[in-house]
């Protein structure tokens, strides 16, 4: 079939790194103890969980006591949003989020709406950025919670989270950040930035799937969703996923290392090479999201007169893994709400493509993807009734 395979869908998930896997392996059969048991088996597992908590905390500048482990990013988002809203509902019923959040956040807000909360959804500009003045004017005396993602999964844009945090801090509003795409990929410090709660997910940073983390600043009170044995300071009951948590810790270590060895800078160079190759060699191809204020591993486009699913399948046949927010690729047959919120037309949103690079992506991979995409676009445009230069 194809002689080369290039996975460029790291926003969807990443491979568990070898070092992470090796750290995890002993915690399945040898060190299998329940971290809540008093005996030697339990104590060993407890020690491993505590060490992982230190590592995850260090990744974002938090104290270990401020990290709660969950069963993934979606659960951490739900815990943060529902937990904070219910803990503070006597202070007010107004909550704020943005138009481009992940479903784990948006749908949690919809659920809050059903429970009698009032939700304001902030718009974004054409590069998917929220305006700080929009946030300021949306805030009311009864606003209790603001949730804004650090970086968008579909178009890569960073939000002005530090400014938004300051505004919320000044007014005593809890500020939650969905950092699933950003954590482990760019260095930042929750304390310096004034973030009250931060969601992280291990599988987006070379750790295992089904393990997440929620940073909750000391002093912020939230209600649990899962009740039971009182693990994780009573905020997430259930016997800890020891191996998964150990894997998260190892992934956080790996990420911290990548912050200091020039990996991120190289990733940015490769990302920019891909963006420049695609936008300069393919006519009617546009970058989506912000040109510079974006995830270092993230390049997303809209390709005019084409449809995403057909491009994905042709890329797949060439051994390239990518993703799209086109209507035909969504179960609902609606184009991505993120692209629509940015003011991109239905027609152009049809041709959305996302390439997300990984730590093992090479310059050759970028060249391979750019060359193949160019050829695929030309082939498919020969079939498109919308393409002007056809025939």
């Amino acid at each position: 079939m194809t002689e080369r395979y290039v996975y460029m869908d790291h926003s969807a998930t990443t491979a568990v790194d070898r070092s992470v896997l090796e750290a995890m392996l002993p915690y399945f059969s040898e060190e299998f103890g329940n971290p809540n048991s008093l005996h030697i088996w339990g104590r060993k597992a407890r020690k491993a969980v505590n060490e992982a908590r230190e590592k995850v905390a260090a990744l974002v500048g938090a104290d270990a006591s401020e990290i709660i482990f969950t069963g993934g990013g979606s659960e951490a988002d739900n815990l943060a949003i529902k937990g904070a809203a219910f803990a503070r509902r006597d202070k007010g019923r107004h909550v704020i989020t943005t138009a481009i959040e992940h479903h784990a956040v948006i749908d949690a807000f919809h659920w809050l709406e059903d429970q009698g909360f009032e939700v304001t959804v902030l718009p974004v500009d054409e590069r998917a950025m929220v305006g700080i003045s929009d946030l300021e004017s949306a805030i009311r005396p009864d606003t209790i919670l603001v949730s804004m993602m650090y970086a968008n999964n579909e178009v890569g844009t960073f939000q002005p989270v530090a400014e938004a945090a300051r505004i919320c801090n000044d007014r005593g509003i809890i500020f939650h950040v969905d950092g699933v795409q950003a954590a482990g990929h760019i260095p930042f410090n929750v304390r310096d930035m004034g973030i009250d709660m931060l969601t992280m997910s291990a599988h987006k940073m070379y750790g295992p799937k089904g393990v997440g983390g929620l940073y909750i600043r000391k002093g912020v009170k939230i209600q649990p969703i899962v009740h039971g044995g009182g693990q994780e300071r009573g905020l997430r009951s259930g016997t800890e996923n020891t191996a998964g948590i150990v894997g998260f810790g190892a992934a956080a270590d790996l990420a911290s290392m990548r912050f200091t060895d020039g990996s991120i800078e190289e990733e940015v160079r490769l990302r920019d090479l891909l963006i420049d190759s695609v936008t300069s060699s393919i006519e009617d191809a546009y970058l989506t999201g912000h040109r510079t204020e974006r995830l270092p591993f993230h390049a997303s486009f809209c390709i005019g007169s084409l449809e995403g699913e057909s491009m994905l399948l042709r890329l797949d046949a060439a051994g390239i893994g990518a993703s799209s927010g086109s209507a035909c690729t969504s179960g609902s047959l609606e184009p991505s709400y993120v692209l629509l919120a940015m003011g991109i037309t239905h027609e152009l949103a049809h041709g959305s493509l996302r390439f997300s690079l990984g730590k093992d992506t090479t310059r050759e991979d970028i060249v391979y993807v750019a060359e193949n995409l160019k050829k695929i676009v030309a082939d498919l445009r020969a079939l498109s009734p919308l393409w002007k230069n056809r025939g």
Binding site: S305, L306, E307, E309, S310, L313, R314, A317, S326, A327, C328, T329, G331, L333, E334, P335, H346, E347, H350, A382, L383, S384, P385, L386, R390, G391
Partner: protein, 129 residues
């Protein structure tokens, strides 16, 4: 998700591209997801002697276009009008449920092209008379 037949026609579609001087052109759009299919036909003695398509849509839409053009080539106009999207789906070895609507474009595209041909012919006859 797709059958081998769908993938084969999607990767190597038959009768693809614009046609010069067609006798009839049908352009139909898909209200579900906003896709467009254009069918060009050449007609001789009430028979489709040549056909081609252009499609802006997913793999299922492209494969359906290719399949329907192969199915109706050589048929009389009335025979071609009797081809339904079910026939196209069957010939493709099936489509996923959420992709059935794409095959409707193929049925409608052929109908629109034949209607266009008949309307033009009628107008031509009247103009001569």
């Amino acid at each position: 998700m797709y059958t081998e037949k769908v993938m084969e026609l999607f990767m190597n579609p038959k009768n693809a591209g614009r046609m010069e001087d067609p006798d009839g052109v049908g352009e139909v759009g898909n209200p579900r997801c906003g896709d467009i299919m254009k069918i060009y036909i050449k007609v001789k003695d009430e028979r489709i002697v040549d056909i081609s398509f252009e499609t802006f849509g997913c793999a299922s839409a492209i494969a359906s276009s290719s399949m329907v053009t192969e199915m109706v080539k050589g048929l009389t106009l009335d025979e071609a009008l009797a081809i339904s999207n079910k026939d196209v789906v069957n010939a493709l070895g099936g489509l996923p449920p959420q992709k059935i609507h794409c095959s409707l474009l193929a049925e409608e595209g052929i109908q629109a092209a034949i209607e266009d041909y008949r309307a033009k012919r009628k107008a031509g006859v009247e103009a001569k008379a």
